[in-house]
Subunit: 359 residues, 2 copies
């Protein structure tokens, strides 16, 4: 069996640590593992399948002899290093937003558009965490009944903003309970000017604001959904709109999704059946026994959990669902490793001659 | 000036305590105040305008000589005592769900349908907390541009389930931070079988489940909105649908509201202007300066805060807004006292001869 030299870029972050664990528990045959991070984290000892591995500082030369890169060290690091890795013959699955909207880069959620993997030119992008769980839930509905419109309101966990935001959130929670003033230096987003406490609060801002009063996170949910489901970030076939809110939860995003199908004959039972039979989804939908997805029960799992499926009683063909997934696993580390598994299975761990070049 | 003998039923609860404070800071001229509660709380000393008042056990006779009752001691207590109070000549503003859907009882949010107060037969109902803030935000839009559809996803605070649920939530939060197991005996709702932790979690169940997979809270938002805005709980003029989620926030509900107006010429700026000019609402909508409503900043205020107003870029006439209000004040105690203020101003603190009778 062919084995691969794998590098993890950003190995010490919240997602990177989980990539190591997900990779160790995957079907990817790993010959050698390289853990890469910034200079600050170099020298740190980590474990892969019980073996100690020393974290190295990422440089272009780090990728010599590497077959497969899993990246989650931020958009700037991906932009800097992944074209270098591709040049050296490594196929990269990138969890940052750096290349998602690049028409040369497939944006892949295996349950939805695994067929796009074969078009890669060295880089495959992993979608935003909030987008992934929604498309996993809706794809089986789309396939069977078509989709006309999606209106989503998110309930996103602190860890989506990174390990330091998560640490800040825990500190805020303890300070609040101790009657102390909460300090905020990162949330809602490190890249904006003002900072507010998330603990015991709600922040209707994820990422920075853009045109028409939408945040970049909302923009991502709209355009990534179209690119994944329709292979065109500006497709009009499905209308998508979103409101993204950060909630005081450490891990696992919740989403209240309202959607309208094309086939008006579809019932809530049909929608449930379609989702129940789909890959990567677990239906948790039993109101009589108070069964529905919750962040605390989704945490640590690879699946996407769906429940609260019900019809809009006044709008034929429209339904609600509630979807929860571990944003660090299915929303990031696991989807990346799952893409790597599919690349290996389809023997696609090769960089083509007309490979991706830095622009 | 006429002065009134006022009784507060459920004076020791989370809402009752705030009713005392809101009444003390209202325009209602209070001659004498009576604080009523269950036997368990009788004898407790509380303060009204700096004067010590002893809590009494509520009995039918407690209402002899009372002009105005503000009630928030649970639906069973309201059903038992309010018809007795009405019989004795007291006008009752009830914050429980006991009489909300009774066609003989006006359901009033002063900013929306203060004209309904004159139709009272002794009882005026206060709507559900999550409904109140939504209709306050949408009424100015409805008046100017009409409304075709409302799709709301709520982010509701623990205190909406009462003081004991709030205490349970705080204990869970501390236990979680201490690495201990969280205990749940009330949330998501005391009246259902299973209980789950709310701290660091999301519970997509508020109140019990009913038909078609909707919770009673969602049912309330749909039918109360129609009764308040259209004076008919089953009106079809505005389609309303809802998903209600309890979030780990102590006080103040958030709501992501998607709505479609009838007048397609309306712009986001028009919607903002309509809301900015309305009573009881404060517009907090300045993305450039990261200004938007948050529970922590809404807490303790009587107003409803609205922001994140923006158009659905693919669906003409459809918009989003984000609304936050203190669920214990505008959502409960203040709306009750505000109704009392309007009753006094309009000289409606009289029980008519064909008054409400227990059914």
């Amino acid at each position: 069996m062919k084995e691969y030299n794998v590098a993890i870029l950003g190995a010490t972050g919240a997602v990177g640590m989980r990539m190591i664990d997900q990779l160790a528990n995957s079907t990817v045959p790993v010959k050698n593992i390289k853990l890469l991070a910034s200079k600050r984290s170099a020298g740190k000892k980590m474990k892969f399948k019980g073996q100690e591995v020393t974290v190295e500082e990422a440089t272009p030369e780090s990728f010599d002899g590497v077959d497969l890169v899993l990246a989650s060290a931020g958009g700037a690091a991906s932009k800097k290093f992944l074209p270098e890795a591709v040049k050296r013959g490594a196929v990269c699955v990138d969890n940052t937003s750096a290349f998602r909207m690049d028409p040369e880069v497939p944006l892949v959620v295996p349950e939805v558009n695994v067929d796009q993997l074969k078009n890669h030119k060295g880089i495959i992008a992993n979608p935003n965490c909030s987008t992934i769980q929604m498309v996993v839930a809706l794809e089986p509905v789309f396939k069977k009944y078509g989709l006309k419109q999606i209106v989503v309101s998110t309930y996103q966990a602190a860890s989506g903003a990174g390990q330091s935001a998560l640490n800040e959130f825990y500190q805020q929670a303890q300070d609040y309970l101790d009657g102390k003033e909460m300090k905020s230096t990162i949330l809602p987003t490190g890249s904006d000017k003002k900072h507010y406490p998330l603990a015991f609060n709600l922040l209707p801002q994820i990422d920075v604001f853009e045109d028409y009063g939408y945040t970049h996170e909302e923009w991502k949910m709209i355009h990534e959904t179209k690119k994944i489901m329709l292979n065109d970030m500006d497709a009009k076939d499905i209308k998508v709109t979103a409101t993204c809110v950060r909630v005081p939860v450490p891990i696992s995003h919740g989403e209240s999704v309202y959607f309208e199908v094309a086939d008006k004959s579809a019932t809530a039972e049909d929608i449930k059946a379609a989702i129940r039979d789909a890959d990567g989804v677990t239906l948790q939908d039993d109101p009589d026994h108070q069964v529905y997805p919750q962040p605390l029960t989704a945490e640590g799992h690879r699946e996407t959990f769906v429940g609260r499926i019900r019809p809009d009683l006044e709008n034929e063909g429209a339904f609600h669902l509630w979807v929860v997934a571990d944003n660090l696993l299915k929303g990031a580390a696991w989807n990346t490793v799952e893409n790597a598994e599919r690349l290996v299975e389809q023997d696609l761990v090769h960089v083509p001659e007309d490979h991706y070049e830095a622009k």
